[in-house]
Amino acid sequence: MPTETKFLGLYGAIWLAILLVVASALFAMRVVQLIRVLTLGRKENRLDHLGQRLLMFLREVMGQSRMIKGESIINWAHPLIFWGFCFFLIASGLMFVGGILAPWLWIPQAEQIPIIGTFVDLFAVAVLIGLIASSIRRYILTPPGLQRTLDATIVVLLIAALMITYLLAEAGGKTREEMLAAQGAAAHHGWGQTWLPAGQALATGLHAIGLGSQTIVQIGVVSWWIHASILLLFLVYLPYSKHMHLIWAPFAVFLAELPYTESLPPAEYGEQKAEATENPLSRFTWRMLMNAYTCAECGRCERVCPAASSGAALSPRQVVHDLKHCVLADGLAALKDRPPKENGEKLIGDIIKSGALWGCATCRACVDICPVRNEHVSLIIEMRRKLVEDGVVDASLMETLVSLQRYGNSQSKSARKRHDWAKDLPVPVKDAQKEPVETLWFLGDYAAFHPSAVRISRMVAQVFHAAGLDFGTLGNAEQSAGNDVRRVGEEGLFEMLAEKNVKALSKADFQRIVTTDPHTYHALKHDYPRFGLERPVFHYTEILDELLAAGKLPLKHQLPSRCTYHDPCYLGRYNGVYDAPRRIIEAVGMKLVEMPRNRENSFCCGAGGGKIWMQDEEGVSERPADLRLKEVLQLEGVTDIVVACPKDLVMFEDAVKTIASTPPLCVVDVGELVFEAMGLSSQLKEQKA
């Protein structure tokens, strides 16, 4: 081992040990400091469902499943680097232990252990290929949102230097073995038994360019020391650089919000907040602050963001990047009892502009594509809460919030008219507060008030009736479920609505809840249990699918068109309901053609998170709904876009007028399809006649 030689009277092993202790101490000090900064955040339990978390960790960290997902083949560069890095962790561990003990005790090195040695050797090459590929992507074919920072360049160069010096050290070792063998000496500790194709090829190459064996051995020794030094330098540099995600990302994935749950923490205000105002970072939970450490600035979030795609000021990556600066500056200052440097209060509205925060439709595309499971949406909503507290609210949104405060709906309509949607319906709709029903239909504002959505609600009522479903509503006692109120950041108003709705629900006798609105569905299913709602909640496509499977949905006609289906964010990405609506579409005989962005990769219509209540911000060139319909127009022979959300219906009916395709696309609801296929429209015409 190179450490068996003495420098300045001491074994190289001693010097290596000193360097290792110093580097480890510097690393540990920084990491402890960063952990202490996280403790400035609010508490949040992320240690539930440990088995599920472990599986997520194995799949996404060890298996790199998110890295491979989507985009292109070039995404394989990261898994190659990561897996190489893992093998190198074993190799490096053996290197330091073996190097430090070498004068006294022999410890096998990775390159001396069959199979492992070969793997490390090949992975060194794989990592180099991965680096070349990722560098081409970063510096030549740069996708939007990917940054060319000095930090990234330094890390690429350091990793490349690590791999090259490792291979050179291998080449030196191989050459030394050959020299020993030529002298008739026995191979030392089995050295030479491992197949090291890259190291051997490099040694052969160095011989070919005229270097002597002794020179190659010396190059190997120097490379070994350079390799060890770079490793220690990397260890110290890592927690200061953007590549600190190497340390934090595995924890971030393990501690991430679980799929199809609601992890948006309640806001803290009033008495709760009194203690929290001392440090601006205390507004955020520790997991929100952790986003700042884990972001690798890959820019995927920005590329899938409907707001960014439509020209709005929002970049989810920039939001996290700005948070990072604030967390590091203010957090570290707070640890030293110094006043905030960046001032976390300025972060919201000044550093991150309010326009950017209001641009988010909370569609979660960024969260779902993020390889390290950063939680941009919760972060943005927490910042919106501050804007709402400060009254920095768009005029149109303010009007809607006032309407919700006064009338319990977003449509500025009298609460006494909520049940008017059912006026003159040919089928009865029970009042669940007056008589027991099996299924309580919670309509939501759009389904109860918006003319387009009311048309669908009336059809769905007739479908439910025809299928023999025992259903009723809360009538005028229902108020907005408040899903988007919560996502706008008006937590107090959401709580008020939830309390009123739960009180109204407590006066009704029912077994389960159904809703046509995915936003309402999400709020009732995930946000309402903490207010006391205990009944199961279903989307109407799930109920229709259930009736279909039970043979209770008599379909008389087959509908001939070719259609595509738009996955609503709050039904699909938020709750994993992808198949029920598709089964219904197929059952009614329509030919379903998928859009390129479907299921978990669906592209938001731009209505969520209260966006439907806001004015378009400056810079928006094409609204997300317009972009989505253009995607539909690329599909051959597709005449209809099928939706399962009243807000999608409203957004796309509007967008159809904007894009003015010929012939115009038809926006149809799943309920409407079933209504037609059951022959209820002709039945209605006959009744009228």
């Binding site: 009033g270 709402v388 507290e389 009254g391 006032v402 006064r406 006494r416 008006e490 107090g492």
Partner: protein, 257 residues
């Protein structure tokens, strides 16, 4: 600057108005009440003046309808004192008599500036603001769209709107009463959490003066819903027939030849 703002409750026009069986008043059970829009602007203007130059804002209101909601919201927005005036009767009296009630409550407050919405959609006998100015013995300027602190101490600069959108900037020596049409910025949004906080902490003061309502000079003889002058003509038939009829109507009106 000690600013007093008058806040009134008016029927919410989003609900259908119903006439009481007596035939001379609204059915209060069928109506709901909200803060008068221009009073909301007056409150906003008062808060802006306070934020810019200090002082205090006192909100004065008749104890009627859902006034507590409006007063908690005012406290949540930043009003320092809330004074409620109890009065005899089911509904507030007309502006002239209401002015007397407000004046009795406001006089002891030592106001430098009184801000009142210049209009309310339930006013029968004219605006409250000039009546109140007279009752308080204060100079009055109405139809104001924005107020700033004046250069001279004890004065403000009020932006008055004349017909035809002609604007005048007027130096007003205090004390004075201004009839507010609009504040320098739209009324701010106050989050429900803050209103709920105010519900726990805000204290309402009852007006110290035992207010007796004078007999109104104006009496309502009767109310009736507006009778439709003409019904809309609903066009029926095929698209061509409907389009043809539209062209005919436009031609009849002389809009197309």
């Amino acid at each position: 600057m000690n600013i007093v703002v008058v806040v009134r409750q008016v029927p919410d026009l989003i609900e259908p108005l119903e006439i009481a069986s007596s035939g001379d008043a609204l059915d209060l059970d069928a109506a709901s009440f909200i803060i008068n829009e221009s009073d909301d602007h007056a409150l906003e203007q008062a808060l802006l003046l306070k934020e810019a130059g200090g002082g205090g804002v006192t909100v004065v209101a008749l104890d009627f309808g859902d006034v507590d909601n409006s007063l908690y919201a005012a406290a949540a927005k930043g009003a320092d004192r809330i004074v409620k005036i109890a009065f005899d009767g089911d509904v507030p009296p007309p502006a002239r008599e209401s002015a007397a009630l407000y004046a009795e409550a406001i006089k002891p407050l030592g106001a430098d500036l009184v801000l009142v919405g210049v209009q309310a959609h339930d006013e029968l006998d004219g605006g409250l603001s000039p009546f109140l100015a007279a009752a308080l013995g204060m100079p009055y300027v109405g139809v104001i769209r924005g107020v700033k602190a004046g250069d001279a101490p004890g004065s403000v600069v009020a932006c008055k709107e004349f017909p035809g959108a002609v604007m005048a900037r007027m130096n007003v020596k205090l004390p004075a009463l201004l009839g507010i049409l609009g504040a320098d910025q739209p009324p701010r949004y106050v989050p429900v959490s803050r209103i709920r906080g105010a519900m726990k902490t805000a204290q309402f003061e009852e007006s110290a003066v035992a207010a007796a309502v004078a007999e109104p000079l104006l009496k309502v003889g009767g109310l009736s819903p507006p009778a439709p002058a003409a019904r809309a003509e609903m066009l029926a038939g095929s698209e061509e027939e409907i389009a043809g009829r539209i062209v005919e109507i436009l031609a009849e009106k002389g809009l197309v030849k």
